[in-house]
Symmetry: none
Subunit: 321 residues, 2 copies
């Protein structure tokens, strides 16, 4: 044969196969070589970039970004609510998407852990009804004593109602005044059972809170702004199911956390599917902390947040290499 058949033949094989849609054996016949060689040429063609296989980028920006985030963060699934410039409130968008996603994740016979917060309540509120059999919705954290708009038990019950599921509420306050009391309460059979049951969940729905004066734990009176500031100084990065986490996504070692009645992060992590929803762009650091701690497997965020996250992941990747 010729001196350097490689390049020319690779091109021709690639052309006939990819542009003309011929089968490999047809290409082999055309070029008078064996089909095995054709297969090899085609691999080389792909390797050297003579043929280019790319997934669409502009037309499905959000989908592509979601796939990239799944890869970068090691999550099972990411959904991104598109940035609709014309919509006044993008957070509603996220909640609507989250509700759809949540309903898709629920299967009959599931046991679902639900945390509390404005985000979760919004989702519950717009969620459509579904008649699922044999579903249980359990509350992931204790209740707030003070009257507050988005109470944990409300979130649980509303979601249970919409799913036609059984709701299991926590009969304890979220936070107690002393560590001893919290400890004793946790030891109570009713409470202990409830806490133990969290590990049996196979789906969880929660958001992540900020650690500033606007935080829900502050607004509901569980912590006062000064305490929160102090905790922030000691490494608090976010709030998950009423507990303070640090940048690594681990429970912060502090009195407050010890006084809280809530799902341990460990039992949370043992839940198979953990859907976290973040609406506000201000929750970037808390989101990072939660991700660092591997607290969620499924994520719903807005396009803007997705971009920031991807940038961050890119930088982290650069540093690592």
């Amino acid at each position: 044969m010729a001196i350097r058949p490689a390049e020319q033949l690779i091109h021709k094989a690639a052309w006939l196969y990819y542009a003309h849609g011929l089968r490999q054996d047809e290409v082999a016949t055309q070029l008078n070589i064996s089909r095995a060689s054709v297969a090899m040429y085609l691999r080389k063609a792909r390797e050297t970039g003579i043929v280019n296989i790319s997934t669409s980028t502009q037309l499905f920006t959000d989908d592509v970004m979601a796939r990239k985030l799944e890869d970068a963060l090691g999550l099972d699934a990411v959904w991104i609510a598109p940035a609709n410039a014309y919509l006044a409130d993008p957070s509603t968008d996220i909640a609507v998407l989250a509700a759809s996603v949540f309903l898709e994740l629920v299967k009959k016979g599931d046991r679902i852990g639900v945390a509390w917060g404005r985000t979760v309540y919004t989702i519950a509120d717009i969620m459509s009804f579904a008649d699922l059999q044999d579903v249980t919705v359990v509350q992931l954290c204790g209740n707030l004593g003070a009257p507050y708009s988005y109470r944990p038990d409300q979130c649980t019950m509303e979601i249970a109602r919409r799913l036609n599921a059984k709701g299991l509420n926590f009969y304890a306050p979220l936070v107690l005044s002393t560590e001893e009391l919290a400890k004793s309460l946790r030891a109570e059979p009713v409470i202990r059972e409830q806490l133990a049951g969290i590990g049996d969940c196979n789906l969880a729905l929660f958001s992540v809170g900020t650690v500033d004066a606007d935080s829900h734990v502050v607004k509901c009176g569980a912590l006062d702004p000064a305490e929160m500031a102090a905790l922030r100084g000691r490494g608090a990065a976010g709030v998950i199911a009423g507990q303070i986490i640090d940048v690594r996504g681990e429970a912060l070692d502090c009195s407050y956390n010890r006084r809280v009645i809530s799902a341990e992060l460990g039992s949370l992590r043992s839940i198979e599917k953990r859907l976290m929803v973040v609406q506000e762009d201000t929750k970037f650091e808390p989101l990072l902390a939660a991700l660092a701690g591997g607290l969620c497997t499924h994520l719903v965020i807005g396009a803007h947040m997705a971009e920031r996250l991807l940038e961050q992941a890119g930088e982290a990747g650069k540093k690592a290499s």
Copy 2:
């Protein structure tokens, strides 16, 4: 906004398969669907252009003959589709090549002028999808009143659709019954604007037509066979964007040309990259005329035509010297 499970899944499947190189059964496991569904999703992904497979057309310009033609004709680039005796239809070959070449020439932000004809429509039809940003496809000539298979607006819209570009149609017939009417129509703001916009294009795609009874302008009723024969006697050598050109590649001085609403040859020539595609061997004379007029800068032809062209050029060179 509701989530579209189908599109999401298609995209995710395509991503895992093409970007990650997973096998179809692995993708199926990941997405909890059957492998057969994955296969179907992937076909849809290819069909809708979510994934894009393109091959380099380098091979066809690297050809020795292509180089010679570039030199002899003073063109920027020539692609030659090899004469594949075994392939059923060599003209398909040319169209496939032309489509690839065209896609390689298009850059984001481009403004593309598209003429009409069987060749152009064939190219549009087999062209793969690409989602380019900020691309506009403009129609180079008026529409055909009569119902005819390869209408100018169809060519424009189909190409625009495949490129995810904006399509700009001409709201005028290709040819009018009187010169006066054509003149008045050209003066209409809408039309004038469109005609002026042609000069802003930086890429054009067109073919060249014959001047016999089989010509498109005859078949679509713009001219009757007798008129065409008469024009031929007066020096008509080809048809470009609905206009009759003589052997020098200039617009023939005739009533028909004055009654046509189309891109002036001058504005056509002011377009930076002008890709001409010729499929049929019968179009040799029209091709020569178009080349003489410097109407194209990039050329896609078949091997047979290339040979004839090279012979011709050789003779011309001899005569000149």
